[in-house]
Symmetry: C3
Subunit: 161 residues, 3 copies
Amino acid sequence: MTQKTALTPATHTTPSARFSRSVRKGDILQVAGQVGFLPAEQCRPPTPAGPTLREQTRQTLADAEAILEEGGAGWDDVMMIRVHLTDTDHFAEMNDIYDVCFDAQYLTRPPAARCPLPAARTTVHVGLPAGLLVAIDALAVLDRARPGHRSLEESYNEVGG
Amino acid sequence: MTQKTALTPATHTTPSARFSRSVRKGDILQVAGQVGFLPAEQCRPPTPAGPTLREQTRQTLADAEAILEEGGAGWDDVMMIRVHLTDTDHFAEMNDIYDVCFDAQYLTRPPAARCPLPAARTTVHVGLPAGLLVAIDALAVLDRARPGHRSLEESYNEVGG
Amino acid sequence: MTQKTALTPATHTTPSARFSRSVRKGDILQVAGQVGFLPAEQCRPPTPAGPTLREQTRQTLADAEAILEEGGAGWDDVMMIRVHLTDTDHFAEMNDIYDVCFDAQYLTRPPAARCPLPAARTTVHVGLPAGLLVAIDALAVLDRARPGHRSLEESYNEVGG
């Protein structure tokens, strides 16, 4: 049986309700809407990384990446990214920040691995809680054959063996 | 071959267009946006459970749960819940209703099963058709090994056996 | 190992940022938010199919369908469609266009295949970049046993064989 597990980096703030920052089950990993809060500190309520779109977007993507890494995954495994912006004037700026973030990530790789396939994306303008300018969530499909992602026992169970 | 099937509790209203209240295929179950309509009655158009956020949210979650159960699943199988609210002032109240609903559900379980792992979530403020305050959809991943969710034949097909 | 691949019909415009029009990995196919741009032409920026909801919605659905077909899939494989409208007055009209599109598609089939199971759907009203009235994305689950969707080697890898 494939268990659902949570992926919650220790630095992330506690969710405001009964939801998980991320869950994985089988080869599906779902990252909840990240909103760019600073790393958790005792006695401080969740605090945005800064007042600007740039600060919040970069923190949001870093938080999503930390979750993916905790799940043994990375941006290459991400199928869909949903970007929610609060200001229609932020669309072009968000695209710039988004592209720089992904370009920077891939520049650290060996040349042969530098041309990844980006995830699909939908970007919409919505309302978010006060002070938040962006919320980003992501759906990833993990590699089944990658060691650690699925035990032999789990795989045998799947085929009734 | 893995067939797509619909999960449509008999009490649910007919969708306003060519969409299904929920579909399942393989181990993926997708619940469409539920909006808290009262159980269907002949000669009555779809009617919200009430004018308040509480009434609509509780009905919405109950409708999603009925769909999950018809699919042999439950909240534990849900990976992602998307909450769409129309009023930015409703965020905190929705969280309270949300938590009470899930806490109440789990209190009915044996103690050993009382600490489930909640789904990931994204909450945004959008516009909805007049009179509706909340729309909630959910993505679930079912247990493959659970009897009935996947036949032996389907599993063998997957490995080319 | 299951590779992620892009599905990008040649006529589609280049995305505005580092995202793919669609990606497939294993049996999951995710269509990014389609917004009804006319087929790409050199030296012309992405241009909506027209100023009306009808033109944009029909183009959007046609673009999504072209992607599905490039992935060896079709509407029958789609589990979830997210419709994002900018104007709350467009809901009923969109439903009419939506239904006509799907009815028309299925009328071209042999009678025995004319009653497909529509995808689940969530429809919300949001903001979109200027000039765009609708954005539609879709999540599909492909048939694993269908030839070409998954090699024997991939399947054997899954069970550790």
